[in-house]
Symmetry: none
Subunit: 246 residues, 2 copies
């Protein structure tokens, strides 16, 4: 899978750089570029918080300016929390990752810019990009931690790329596949027959007129459970055991 470079522009805290590296590794992205990190480089605090993503930290490449860091790229996204007046496309996370995948698939070098804590990217740095990536956040609290922003963006990249690899454009296309292979109707019917007989024998229905409706409700609940063959056997055992007292 082709992946974008992640460019942290003037990052301040080493801990945040490490946390970004960790999020990158979680979602299969390993190319980290650092533009003028405030506390110099290497930074032991970055290594500490990177957890097992040390290779991402070790392989990070330093640049003096954002312009140099994107020089070899054909498609660049600039992440901003606040919307700004920019005359370029503003994409949400899903739209941006869709565009990014298209560019990567064409063989283009791609990168995502993340600005410094507190201030974000300068307008000149945003202007280096082809599009703005604006992560939808609550108006009540718009300040995303930088590593959270990286995790949110790359999780969408990874999940949507995985869907593509699985041959599905979008998980919403498909009914949920919960991985459970249900028992067949014959097995279910055997369970129903046993339960109905057992309930008849203990005079469960009391008011005969109510049986039809009640029994339909009982079966509906068991049907919704989508029991497996194994579970049908277990439940038949439960009914037998309860009925016969071991």
């Amino acid at each position: 899978m082709k992946t974008p470079a992640i460019i942290l522009v003037r990052p301040q805290l080493g801990e945040n750089i490490g946390a970004c590296a960790r999020a990158m590794a979680n979602f299969g992205c390993r190319e980290l570029r650092l533009v003028a990190p405030r506390d110099g480089w290497p930074n032991p605090k970055a290594a500490d918080t990177a957890n097992k993503a040390l290779d991402v930290i070790d392989d990070a490449v330093l640049f003096a300016t954002a312009k140099e860091a994107v020089a070899d790229c054909q498609f660049v996204l600039a992440t901003t929390a606040r919307s700004r007046a920019v005359n370029m496309p503003v994409l949400d996370t899903r739209q941006a990752m869709s565009a990014l995948r298209g560019r990567l698939a064409k063989g283009e070098r791609c990168a995502i810019l993340f600005g410094p804590e507190r201030t974000g990217l300068e307008n000149e740095e945003v202007a280096l990009a082809d599009a703005v990536l604006s992560i939808p956040v609550s108006e009540d609290y718009t300040s995303l931690n930088i590593s959270h922003a990286v995790a949110v963006v790359l999780s969408e990249f990874y999940a949507s790329s995985s869907h593509l690899l699985r041959g599905s454009m979008d998980s919403r296309d498909k009914p949920e596949n919960d991985g459970i292979m249900g028992a067949n109707k014959h097995e279910i019917d055997g369970l129903f027959g046993q339960l109905e007989t057992a309930l008849d024998e203990v005079n469960f229905w009391r008011v005969p007129e109510k049986k039809e409706t009640m029994w339909r409700h009982v079966r509906a609940a068991l049907t919704r459970a989508k029991l497996t063959s194994q579970e049908v056997a277990t439940w038949r055992g439960i009914i037998r055991a309860l009925k016969e007292g071991r």
Copy 2:
């Protein structure tokens, strides 16, 4: 917008609790529940890292066990990094948030469980849930920071909910509407307790070592059925009738 409760089960580092609170506020979620935080509560380190999301920390509610924390909920997701052999639906982030939105729209109380750093949720805690939420991550590095997991899940919740509010969501993404208002976990737990006692009394388990796994499977099937309060009452009547023979 209705939002889920976020439940952190036995969280270790106060810094992580604070970072989770911050991510929650970024995505409009403010109801934090804490189950037995390792370093006690309140924790000044949580407040430090919560940044401006202090109200989320201040309003956090403490519980002794995960079971108590979900007692008032009708729909619960359990977040796990590693896939496990569970007989319940396993949903990716997008599928899980789609299901969650459907439940919230019906007026159900919903919650998302996140396990402790390193170890994750215990099997017994996963068994409290209606479905497993498995965030797609790279096989090379599956260990997500807990606040990153919260940010990834809630950003998808927020973004997809915003799409719905804007009326632009894909028509394929329909909130789940099966017309069923599920019983809450307290009612379900009452049913489980009665069934377990009844099965103990008839020596159903035979091989004691097998009880834990078998019992988890039995509960999983009933959980998948999404019983209503009325159905819980019916099933309690069924168990009593079978057990006592009218």
